[in-house]
Symmetry: C2
């Protein structure tokens, strides 16, 4: 059996009509038959008819009672045993996070460790396997009970194959068959791989500030800068999966050299690494007493967060550094607002912890540069989910990908 | 009866299942029952069952025979009399174009005139009415036979209401109820209004180079610069309808003042008006003999196209002017390619007639600035539809908007 065949066999087959119901279930929190029939604009009879076989197959189950509102208590519905357990995985450049969730995406255990993604898939997936096994042991599960695995990685992904495409910071991962390798261990799982920022955007869309928004730009400002794009309530990956590669938008024609080979990319001027490098230069030059004081020994390397701390104490050089970053990021976002007219921009990633001054500057720049119409209803916020966003998104995508329409069931035939 | 009620009454009610069929019909050229069943992945029996009532209602009809491929000739299907005639309308800043089409979007008559959009809706819609009447007279039709009108306008549109939202070059049109006013004359028509570049993108998607592409940026380079965006095969209008407002993306931080109030917008540096103004300055300063020769009298004002002509004759100043425009437009497009990862960029509008050198420069700049992955399969082309694109798009949108799902027919109830 090929890996593709195994993947297909591991998925749960449903009919077109059942898919409509499942898709709606994925959007709602503890729905009842009544709230489902209202949301789908179909009769209660249709709901009952469609739900019964799904309950029989343990794909859905009755999970409890909705709040009392007179009359009989309605039973809430959730996903059942057949959906099994789900693993959400977030690979960062130097970190690996896992969360193990039940059929209703309730997180049961989680774990976090340091890795170097550039050590390649052999070492990194071994670390993943060990962590996954510990989580399973923790709550007494077998590998075979995992039905879905969602993995976020810091590079461009061909979503159809689940393989990375020429990832700049991930040597050895190019075209590596992650799903196939994982399915050799997790034989009953459907595996889905996507870019880490796409996972964050999904997490925000379903579990965070993105609920109810249609068109979202989730901007991750970490060492690098990248965006996840939601279009009409769905993730948009672009024509070959590299949409949102906004870190290399040029904001200073003769700016510093970027690792991509061009000059003046926003990542090279305003990303976490750029801020940290400039902070260390300033600290060692003596231009800021505050930053210099933080260099307690030769091998201390200040981070972007340290700049946030110094700025909070009124250090002028740090304030200027944050304003400059905000200016560049704001200019880049202004381009995107003019083009895309989103209703929500969410900022995440390590640098978003630098404090309120950064987002304040970004908002000012966007309000000045974009048209009043495009910013009329636009919200620009820090994502409150923080590092959880990627894990929530990965679990969500794992569950979504678990269902496939079994064409012979198609009622319209 | 309110205008909204009239609009609803003028539309053709179909069921959810019929909509699936109609949507597919809109994508195909002279389909047969067999090609439709293949495209929709449904049984021939389902097609026959669904088509019969539509033919009875004259919404569809058999239009001819498909090419012989052995056996019985299959009958091709098209839209029928109930769909009536369609009007496509393209309002420019200084021009008005109309095309009258039959139920299958076959253009039967067309007309073009000069107007000033800034004269306001009273004068402009009067001109439209007179032109429409002449077209109807030309082929002996009554106003009541027009079932759909699609109108492109050079400003941001609230697509739900069909009204313009603070259009910068259209004084008097803000929030003007175009559909309501038109329906007072065309009592049986469904009227739909959209931004002119959106109409062009739709035209290219269905009738031009965009066929088969998923994610398209249609860039109109006229006096101003704007984009129509296709996302996953559908028009994307943004959260409040102003997506694609790319003319005001800033490409030169301390550039010339733009009419939007900011400095260095790409429109103010590389749009048709900017090119023309610079050409006239150069011609009058004597920096280019070629351009100076074209100023045959005091009141000659050179156009962007004149610059193209001079460049073709080897005029260095004109070549530089075109290269500079290409550089700015290319830089702006590079931002969009990094963010959006489209598979196709189409260039239209008057300045696209300036010749091959402009697109050559644009391609070079994008290839240099964007990532190799994002440009791997990217095509950048002039749209060959030219000014027709907007009319084709308007007719297409008029027809699409003519159908509405009649909810009580929903088979799932």
């Amino acid at each position: 059996m090929s890996a593709n065949q195994q993947m297909a066999a591991n998925r749960i087959n449903i009919s077109t009509e059942e898919k409509r119901l499942i898709d709606q279930m994925l959007l709602m929190d503890a729905p009842t038959r009544t709230t489902l029939s209202q949301a789908l604009e179909v009769s209660p009879a249709w709901i009952t008819k469609s739900i019964t076989p799904l309950i029989d197959r343990e794909i859905l189950e009755e999970t409890g009672s909705a709040a009392h509102s007179g009359g009989r208590r309605a039973r809430t519905l959730g996903f059942g045993k057949a959906v099994g357990y789900l693993l959400g995985v977030d690979f960062g450049a130097t970190s690996l996070s896992l969360a193990l969730a039940g059929p209703n995406r309730d997180i049961l255990a989680r774990s976090h460790t340091s890795i170097e993604i550039k050590d390649g898939p052999g070492i990194c997936l071994h670390a993943f396997n060990e962590m996954a096994q510990s989580l399973l042991d923790e709550i007494n599960l077998e590998k075979s009970q995992i039905r879905g695995i969602g993995i976020g990685v810091p590079g461009p992904v061909n979503f159809t194959t689940g393989r990375l495409t020429s990832p700049p910071i991930m040597p050895g991962w190019d075209d590596y068959p992650i799903p196939d390798v994982l399915m050799a261990d997790f034989k009953g799982a459907s595996v889905v791989v996507d870019n880490d920022v796409n996972m964050m955007a999904l997490g925000a869309l379903y579990h965070g500030e993105g609920i109810g928004a249609n068109n979202i730009i989730f901007l991750k400002i970490g060492s690098g800068i990248g965006a996840g794009i939601v279009c009409k309530g769905e993730l948009y990956r672009g024509s070959i999966g590299c949409a949102g590669d906004v870190g290399h938008i040029i904001v200073e024609r003769d700016g510093p050299l970027c690792h991509c080979g061009n000059r003046g990319c926003v990542e090279a001027l305003a990303g976490g690494l750029a801020i940290a490098q400039e902070a260390n230069r300033i600290a060692r030059s003596g231009e800021s007493q505050e930053l210099s004081r933080m260099i307690t020994s030769e091998d201390v390397f200040l981070s972007a967060e340290d700049v946030g701390v110094a700025a909070a104490q009124g250090d002028l050089a740090s304030l200027e550094l944050i304003d400059r970053s905000g200016q560049y990021i704001g200019e880049m976002l202004t381009h995107l607002v003019s083009f895309y007219n989103p209703d929500l921009i969410l900022l995440g990633g390590g640098v978003s912890k630098i404090g309120h001054r950064l987002i304040n500057t970004i908002r000012q720049v966007v309000l000045k540069g974009a048209s009043p119409l495009a910013t009329r209803d636009l919200r620009i916020e820090y994502s409150q989910l923080g590092e959880e966003a990627g894990l929530y998104g990965a679990i969500r995508l794992a569950q979504q990908s678990l269902f496939q329409v079994f064409e012979d069931n198609d009622v319209s035939r």
